[in-house]
Symmetry: C2
Subunit: 333 residues, 2 copies
């Protein structure tokens, strides 16, 4: 195992020290509870936005904390759900009197722990908490850690769009409705060329032959739809976009396209893939309104990519364009 | 070889199509000459800034084209210098009457071709051209493609800082002096855990054992200082920072710290490394004024990292903070 780490047990806590050192202008870190907070949280009158999940997907979620996106991110151990105590502490800390939204990717542990935290925060501190569970991955119905579809790339888009709406001080009902709309209108599909290696495991999560790829992979190396011989980028793009378009009709709506890298894939390949995806969408009559190309929801050093399409509307596009100032996404600030 | 590509011969041209498709709001692309231009170039009265080099280092340089940074980037084939015709065309196209600065990383082919282009542009179009050759890599004196030190990470910082100064319409003499100061005050050192694979070669550029790393590596897999058994992150940080601090005294100056990923290293490891680097700097009495953590000057999918320190002053820090709107670096816009 080749990694830039000290002890496998300390990777998350030491990376949090680095995030704090690099971004103390925007975030503060509770190292005991492994929570990254927006520096000025709680913001009075603003709905608080919390997400979290296992580590190893950076910059998601900790890199999306800051004005215009999340108020806090709860960091679990590598590929491991955070615990309810983290989410409860974060919920109480970011409540500015307008309630809190939990943004939860659909993995059984995350869903369960966020639910418990929401109940505890309501009971103990009287905080109104709503939840959105993202489940945009069209690859498989159930999976290793999931009942139903997995939550993947749309989570990044949702955090940005809902983050901008919260910044405008829209109320919790409106924020929840918007979050549901974004999740309902988002679809993703991913693939891997190589496995990732969880530091504590010390060996690859799964095995892939020298000429193989896994199509429909999850962000923890969960099995996908099929293992196939490696194919040209244009065929891979087709394999990712076709199931998405078969699942939802994007025609006639401004679509946000997110070409995501899994962590070990260089940017030049992501741009090449984006070209293939945009050609398929043009042929299919889908209008690209905005795009995001880069590694934003990753699986450690896994090589591969995912495509997320979001059927947006003018409001969502406007919220997408709104200023954001986080370590991972920044513009207008 | 596992890559998200079609034909190895088309990687650069197809990635350029993707860059254009994703960022047509900010850049336009000359596909024949493989030049990425700022959409509104030439900007009248502003010194034009051009860089370029072999592809495979994205987002450098094409991802740094836009307001506040470069006016054009000339893209060579993978790890191969662009040709003088590209640089000459770019020089003429971005000249807004205030002259043009060539920002050249110190590799023999790049230096030679940019020199020829500068002469041709002066002779044919009467454009005043100055050049800065970056040579910040303290690892080795001469190298596979270089006489003298190699130009690496400081190039990114220079393009940002000098880009902001050009945006303020400082004149070419001032821009050149600033560029020399930034290069003279910047030092870098890198390392690799794995090799990269150039698509046309189809096999790794060099071989590294399962438990080995190469310290002092170049961005094309050029040999470094030494091949060593893999070490903890804190020791690797020491091996990178020590030669930098031995080469230049950073004490008493606001220092910009750039923790760069080589392309295949996940962000969580870069933050962990940044923590180690910042601890060493604190112990050494170096004051961190600003930081940049991420993969900005890469070597395809190579796993590894580099550290760049820039001994700045108040003017440089102000220019660093100035708005920038490029695909790769964006804030304030």
């Amino acid at each position: 195992m080749k990694k830039l780490i000290n002890d496998a047990a300390d990777v998350v806590s030491e990376a949090l020290l680095g995030i704090e050192a690099a971004h103390s202008d925007r975030v503060r870190v509770d190292h005991d509870l492994k929570i990254i907070y927006r520096a000025d949280a709680p913001v009075q009158g603003k709905v608080g936005l919390i997400s979290g999940g296992g580590s190893g997907h950076e910059p998601m979620h900790g890199g999306f904390v800051g004005p215009g996106m999340l108020d806090a991110a709860c960091c679990g151990e590598m590929f491991t759900s955070p615990v309810p105590d983290q989410m409860m502490a974060a919920t109480k800390a970011v409540d500015g009197g307008a309630g809190v939204l939990h943004i939860v990717k659909n993995y059984t542990g995350d869903v369960m722990n966020f639910e418990m935290a929401a109940e505890m925060a309501a009971d103990e501190a009287g905080v109104r908490v709503e939840s959105i569970v993202t489940d945009d991955d069209v690859a498989v119905q159930d999976s290793l850690y999931t009942a139903g579809r997995r939550g993947v790339g749309v989570t990044v888009l949702l955090e940005k769009i809902v983050g901008a709406a919260a910044e405008e001080q829209r109320d919790l009902d409106a924020i929840l409705a918007l979050a549901k709309q974004v999740n309902g209108n988002g679809r993703s599909m991913g693939m891997a060329l190589t496995s990732c290696t969880v530091p504590a495991a010390g060996k690859p999560t799964f095995e892939l032959g020298e000429d193989e790829m896994e199509v429909g992979i999850g962000i923890h190396g969960e099995p996908g739809r099929k293992r196939l011989p490696i194919a040209p980028a244009r065929d891979i793009a087709q394999m990712l976009v076709e199931p998405i378009l078969a699942d939802l009709d994007f025609k006639g709506s401004p679509t946000i396209v997110f070409m995501n890298g899994m962590g070990g894939t260089p940017l030049i390949e992501l741009y090449l893939m984006y070209n293939e995806v945009s050609k398929i969408l043009a042929k299919s009559g889908v209008t690209i309104a905005r795009s995001l190309v880069g590694s934003y929801i990753t699986s450690l050093e896994m090589a591969g990519c995912s495509v997320t399409l979001l059927k947006a509307d003018d409001d969502m596009v406007k919220l997408w364009d709104a200023p954001v100032n986080t370590p991972g996404l920044r513009w207008g600030c």
